[in-house]
């Protein structure tokens, strides 16, 4: 009892939990920590806000006060003058009039549905590749897509693409049959020969004969010359991406091969292609090839460009994947050998899953670069979106319009590239199994 006298106050119960002071939570805390943590930072914050406000006050009215309906730049200016008394506003009318051209090039207007269907099919086809949760049955769409796309975009009877696809089946079947009777290498070479003979000599005449006998799915032919805009970027970019990954993989493995010839070929190819700018390859595709080919050979320009872009990006891809292979500890290779796996099994089950995972950022980086590089085709006279923006400006109605077109083109590219980068980050997070 004595004790209680000497101590002035003893708390006998717990105080209820109190909310944190207003200055330590929510927006206020965040503002204080991030924007006004010191005098200098406060000043910087205020200056930055002023700058942002100044920029936005210029851009926002310009963007949202723009004209959407006019048939020429001068008409646009007349409307703006009438509405605001000045012309400091956007003239989006050029997009209203030309958006189809920017997206599809000179593709015939009544056939544009085909391009749209091909685009939707493309989304369906890549979904199962990108996301595991998508039903696996959709992979059949993925396999059929390249042939369907060629048929939809270029038209003609369906037999051509169908027979080319049949060539792959033939290739596979002959490989399986030959492998039973001889070695893997011989089977590969033999089936390759059979496939090539089929593609080069049988497909053409057969598809013509079938086309005239059974004109099923005979879409109007569209020539490569009229392809353009965003569409040509997607066609070239997608083909390049889809083909460069497997080719790059083979090149990367070839570069590590113990066989001198294989190694020399792969190293030579990679170093040669990487040592040459893409634009040089494009010029070669568009100009020099014509000198080498027999006169009168009409080798489709789009196809030539796709081949060159693919070669170019597969050389880069090979080096990216080689980086992934090199990053694997030697123990992984030895473990695979110790398990008694043969070369392809160890690559498929042990090495590649790890190496590719490491390489994802580099691979996606190459993809994004490749996709943006497709605008270089402008310099060989293919009308991609940038080329079209020049052509649109050359029209006397729209001569002098710049920002609106470039903003649109930039936006389209940004959406594509940003989605790719977001996907790769998501994939990296999903595949993270390490010791982090």
């Amino acid at each position: 009892m004595k004790n209680s006298k000497s101590v002035a106050f003893v708390r006998e119960g717990m105080i209820d939990q109190q909310p944190a002071p207003a200055s330590q939570i929510g927006a206020v805390r965040w503002l204080k920590d991030n924007l006004f943590s010191s005098v200098l930072n406060s000043i910087l914050t205020i200056i930055s806000l002023l700058v942002i406000f100044w920029v936005l006050s210029g851009i926002v009215p310009w963007m949202f006060g723009g004209v959407w309906n006019a048939s020429s730049l001068s008409e646009c200016r007349d409307i703006l003058n009438e509405r605001y008394g000045n012309t400091h506003y956007a003239c989006w009318a050029v997009l209203t009039e030309r958006w189809q051209q920017l997206l599809f090039g000179f593709y015939p207007a009544e056939e544009i549905w085909r391009a749209v269907v091909a685009f939707v099919l493309m989304l369906v086809a890549i979904a199962p590749v990108l996301f595991e949760s998508v039903p696996r049955k959709l992979l059949w769409v993925t396999i059929a897509f390249p042939f369907l796309m060629v048929w939809l975009v270029w038209g003609g009877p369906i037999w051509g693409p169908l027979l080319v696809a049949l060539g792959f089946v033939l290739f596979y079947v002959s490989y399986v049959v030959l492998e039973r009777k001889s070695s893997t290498l011989l089977a590969l070479i033999g089936s390759l020969v059979i496939g090539l003979v089929w593609w080069m000599f049988c497909v053409g005449p057969l598809s013509e004969a079938l086309g005239s006998a059974l004109p099923i799915g005979d879409l109007e032919r569209v020539e490569s010359r009229v392809l353009g805009g965003f569409m040509i970027c997607v066609i070239i970019g997608l083909s390049g991406i889809a083909l460069s990954l497997p080719i790059g993989l083979i090149l990367a493995l070839g570069r590590q091969s113990n066989l001198w010839v294989v190694k020399a070929i792969c190293v030579g190819f990679i170093e040669f292609i990487r040592g040459v700018p893409l634009i040089t390859l494009l010029f070669t595709a568009s100009l020099l090839l014509n000198y080498f080919l027999p006169p009168g050979t009409a080798f489709d320009l789009t196809l030539r460009v796709i081949i060159m872009v693919t070669l170019f990006s597969s050389a880069y891809m090979a080096e990216v994947i080689r980086g992934g292979l090199a990053a694997l500890p030697k123990g992984q290779y030895e473990a695979a050998d110790a398990l008694g796996l043969d070369y392809w099994q160890s690559q498929r089950l042990i090495i590649m899953p790890q190496a590719l995972k490491i390489s994802i950022p580099g691979i996606v980086n190459t993809f994004i670069g490749l996709f943006k590089d497709t605008t270089l085709v402008m310099f060989i006279g293919i009308f991609d979106m940038l080329g079209l923006s020049n052509a649109i400006r050359a029209n006397s109605a729209w001569n002098g319009i710049n920002w609106e077109l470039y903003i649109f083109i930039g936006l389209v590219f940004w959406i594509c590239c940003f989605s790719m980068s977001q996907y790769s980050q998501w994939l990296e997070r999903k595949l993270r199994t390490g010791h982090h």
Binding site: Q101, L287, I380
Partner: protein, 344 residues
């Protein structure tokens, strides 16, 4: 048995040789064009007034009209043209490699292009020259007053060299502002990054027409270079060159003789008292046959495309936004340089 094989081989070789000789009497390019069903024409990727696709993807312009004229001469149908857009870097290779049959892409006729690149210029369809544009506020009325001016100039072009020459000859100083393209040049000039913008006079006019206030800018009277622009074909097929050349001459002669798209058909039907018009329109003589074309090839050009003056007015003339005066490009009878050899 061996002998028979030998003889038949000889006969086959003979047949091939005769075929080749039959070929060489006409134009190989013409035969290829006729087999293909269209003239493959190389054009600019976009120059106001000269070549540009419209909203439906249909090509229009002064150079385009020339492609259409050749198609009208060969097929009687001006729509049978396949346009291949070419950049300045790809144009000559495309022509020499045979990817196109004809290049109509405002290309300046120079010695080295004609001789060294082995190309044939078939004529001059537009006499251009390098000019200067300045803002009115600058208060300059002659290029010789441009002492110390900043000049927007496209790098790597002949205009850059001409500019240096002009200022050196006149002992003036200038400060170049290098730009990459026509578009960039316009924007820099409008933003006031340079006092003067120099390029071909036709391009200056096109640029000025697109400005918000064209009246605030003037094109100075000096023209400091010769830029004869014309269509061209490759060496080695003079018959084809003749077809292209006389398709152009037909447009020029038609204007000189007063034959227009409106009255040509009637003149051809009823005849005129001018023998040259009659020959041009195929009523008299066998001029078309000499080219390996139908005799009414010029009539087709004039009715379906128009004469030189009509094409000029419709695409780049004073009634269009580009608003070029005929100037040097007037008929020789009006004091210009446009002149066709006689149709005889």
């Amino acid at each position: 048995m061996n002998k028979t094989a030998f003889v038949s081989a000889l006969a086959a070789a003979g047949l091939v040789a005769t075929g080749a000789m039959a070929q060489s009497s006409g134009s190989a390019t013409l035969a290829a064009v006729q087999e293909h069903g269209a003239v493959k024409c190389g054009v600019n990727t976009g120059t106001p007034g000269f070549a540009a696709p419209d909203a439906d993807g249909v090509w229009k312009g002064f150079d385009i009209d020339f492609c259409r004229a050749v198609a009208a001469a060969v097929f009687g149908d001006p729509e049978k043209v396949e346009y291949t857009p070419l950049t300045s870097a790809t144009r000559f290779t495309a022509l020499s490699s045979g990817e196109i049959d004809l290049l109509a892409r405002n290309t300046t006729w120079t010695f080295s292009r004609d001789v060294d690149l082995k190309l044939d210029f078939v004529g001059v369809n537009y006499y251009d020259g390098q000019g200067f544009m300045v803002p009115k506020d600058l208060g300059v009325s002659s290029a010789k007053e441009l002492e110390g001016a900043t000049v927007c100039i496209e790098t790597g072009t002949t205009t850059e060299l001409n500019l240096a020459d002009f200022f050196r000859i006149n002992e003036l100083d200038y400060e170049p502002v290098p730009v990459e393209s026509f578009t960039e040049a316009q924007n820099q000039f409008l933003a006031g990054a340079c006092d003067v913008y120099t390029t071909d006079a036709s391009a200056l006019a096109a640029a000025r027409s697109a400005f918000e206030t064209p009246g605030d800018y003037v094109v100075l009277p000096e023209i400091i270079s010769k830029e004869p622009l014309g269509p061209l074909v490759r060496h080695g097929d003079s018959e084809w060159a003749d077809i292209v050349r006389w398709s152009f001459n037909a447009m020029v002669a038609a204007e000189e003789l007063g034959v227009t798209s409106a009255n040509a058909a009637e003149m051809a039907e009823n005849g005129t008292n001018s023998p040259e018009i009659n020959r041009l329109l195929g009523r008299e003589g066998e001029l078309g046959a000499m080219l390996g074309l139908p005799n009414d090839f010029a009539l087709n050009i004039i009715t379906k495309v128009g004469n030189y003056g009509e094409s000029f007015e419709a695409n780049i003339g004073e009634s269009t936004t580009i608003g070029l005066a005929r100037g040097l490009n007037a008929q020789w009878t009006d004091g210009g340089l446009i002149y066709s050899p006689p149709f005889r």
